[in-house]
């Protein structure tokens, strides 16, 4: 009897584990749960305002707009209750807005950085000013979102931008040896026009493969082993489930913007050289005068620190800080260390500049 139990117990445990794994790998976790309201739309883009929970007299005066990358969903900033940057900020009295770019269709393949930086962002900011009744605003850009916000801040320095926060910002493309992407998209090997002629937009699957292939063992094996090792820990499983939901939810990148990313930035480093032209205007980083905080992930394999650091010497901001934090491209904002290090630092920096 006892022997039979010794044999069946591990089998039952194994069955339970497999059930959990199947469930988290085949279902979507409840994500982006912080209450919000849709306040503006343009084409596929949506502007959300998170419902404030702090009384108005205790809130920070200047609203904050979050701008994420073009090829991933922005709810990584509001992953799940208890592990949400948005929730963290709202609870600390910030008036938080999120610009969701949406998923571009074939009809949007012409969209370029020009459209995002000089149509979408300024219009969203105008709406925020109208809602909040404040003529100033803070911007937070992450990854490609950091490129867009930097370009906007340099082109429209008198538009009321008080604070600019850049997270893992790929702005400098001069150090080709440290940039794996740079090597892959070299014109010798990668024909950007050919791929866009076939697909119109850059397919989400190709971008996802590119990001994962930088660390193949971690992304294709290590990630699942982490789940297996912690399958009896409901907290780790819930966290893994939410992150996996986000990782699998990729979106294509508009063809025009992708071409600019490859040709103007990865191949020719035009932003840092001061040669990037957006709607006929040259992007001069010295015109960027907003208070600047750039958060650099020391273990970032997608945007190595060498891409984010040099901008500090180029901008015209008097108040500027580079904050280095341990972690990877996503981990610094959504990992377990984010709530201890990155979020409090950003909150402290922003709070003292938002009155």
């Amino acid at each position: 009897m006892a022997q039979a139990q010794t044999v069946t117990d591990p089998l039952i445990t194994l069955e339970e584990r497999l059930k959990t794994i199947t469930k988290v790998m085949t279902s979507k976790a409840p994500i982006a749960q912080t209450p919000k309201e849709l306040v503006w739309t343009l084409n596929k883009a949506k502007l959300f305002r998170y419902t404030p929970v702090v009384p108005q007299e205790k809130r920070h005066r200047i609203p904050l707009l979050l701008v994420f990358a073009l090829m991933n969903r922005p709810y990584i900033l509001d992953l799940r209750p208890g592990n949400s940057f948005v929730e963290f900020l709202v609870q600390r009295g910030f008036d938080v807005y999120l610009l969701d770019w949406g998923s571009p269709g074939p009809e949007d393949s012409h969209l370029k950085f020009d459209d995002y930086t000089l149509e979408y962002i300024p219009r969203a900011i105008r709406k925020i000013k109208a809602i909040s009744g404040v003529e100033e605003v803070s911007l937070l850009g992450w990854c490609i979102g950091a490129i867009l916000t930097t370009i906007y801040a340099a082109l429209r320095p008198d538009d009321g931008l008080r604070n600019l926060i850049l997270l893992t910002a790929p702005l400098d493309f001069s150090n080709k040896d440290q940039l794996t992407f740079s090597r892959w998209v070299d014109e010798k090997y990668f024909d950007v026009d050919k791929i866009l002629a076939l697909f119109g937009n850059m397919p989400a699957e190709t971008i996802d493969y590119g990001a994962k292939a930088l660390k193949p063992v971690e992304n294709y094996i290590g990630n699942y082993l982490k789940l297996w090792d912690n399958v009896d820990n409901p907290q780790v499983v819930a966290s893994w489930h939410a992150m996996n939901t986000w990782i699998k939810d990729n979106i294509p990148m508009a063809g025009g913007a992708f071409r600019q990313l490859i040709v103007d930035l990865y191949r020719n480093d035009r932003l840092m050289k001061g040669e990037l032209i957006i709607r006929g205007e040259r992007v001069d980083l010295s015109r960027l005068r907003a208070n600047l905080l750039t958060v650099i992930a020391e273990g970032d394999h997608i945007t190595p620190p060498c891409q984010s650091e040099p901008v500090m010497a180029k901008v015209g901001s008097r108040d500027k800080e580079a904050y280095r934090v341990r972690g990877g491209h996503i981990g610094i904002m959504a990992g377990s260390g984010a709530v201890k290090h990155t979020w409090p630092h950003i909150e402290k920096w922003l709070a003292s500049r938002s009155s």
């Binding site: 949007d108 105008r126 070299d186």
Partner: protein, 183 residues
């Protein structure tokens, strides 16, 4: 070996296995990261992508043409029609957004104008109150006078005000008349 001893050794075995597995994966990870970062990998992945694109491209146009013809024959909108429509909608949205911005500006101006008007009204009221106070102050010593006196004082004041208003009307009429030689 007792049961307790067996249990004590089991986790160690699992831990050892896990450690061994992690070390193995770390070695592999380092190797593969170096590999994908090499020129040869960039060349190989570029060639693979290029051959895929070369193979797929010839089918794209005929497939699109066939689809276009089919949809036209069925009197159904094509993808180009949808793209055009989407562009129009976006333009409309932009126009609406522009109007919204203008309305916001107008609202701001109206609020500012209302505030200025309120301030002016408040000023006028204060001035009126002051005049009334001054008049009251003037009237108080008059109470001590005989009842016939105020009427005698009031008559010349009324006449004077009538004269002033006549002058003012004449001046306004002169101002309205166009001058000779000017348009």
């Amino acid at each position: 070996m007792s049961e307790a001893e067996t249990k004590a050794t089991q986790p160690n075995l699992v831990e050892q296995m896990t450690e061994l597995r992690d070390t193995y994966l770390q070695t592999w990870s380092k190797y593969l990261i170096e590999e994908v970062n090499s020129e040869s990998y960039a060349q190989a992945s570029g060639a693979a992508l290029s051959s895929y694109l070369d193979a797929a491209a010839p089918f794209k146009e005929p497939a699109e043409q066939a689809m276009l013809k089919t949809l036209q024959q069925l009197h159904m909108p094509t993808s180009a029609d949808f793209a055009g429509l989407a562009g129009r909608f976006t333009n409309l949205e932009m126009q609406l957004d522009n109007m919204d911005a203008k309305l916001d500006r107008l609202e701001k101006l109206l609020i500012a104008a209302a505030k200025t008007a309120e301030a002016k009204t408040a000023e006028a009221k204060t001035a009126e109150a002051k005049t009334a106070e001054a008049k009251t102050a003037e009237a108080k010593p008059a109470e001590a006078r005989t009842p016939a006196e105020p009427a005698a004082h009031a008559a010349p004041i009324k006449q004077a005000s009538k004269k002033q208003s006549k002058h003012a009307t004449a001046a306004k009429a002169a101002a309205r008349k166009p001058r000779k030689g000017t348009k």
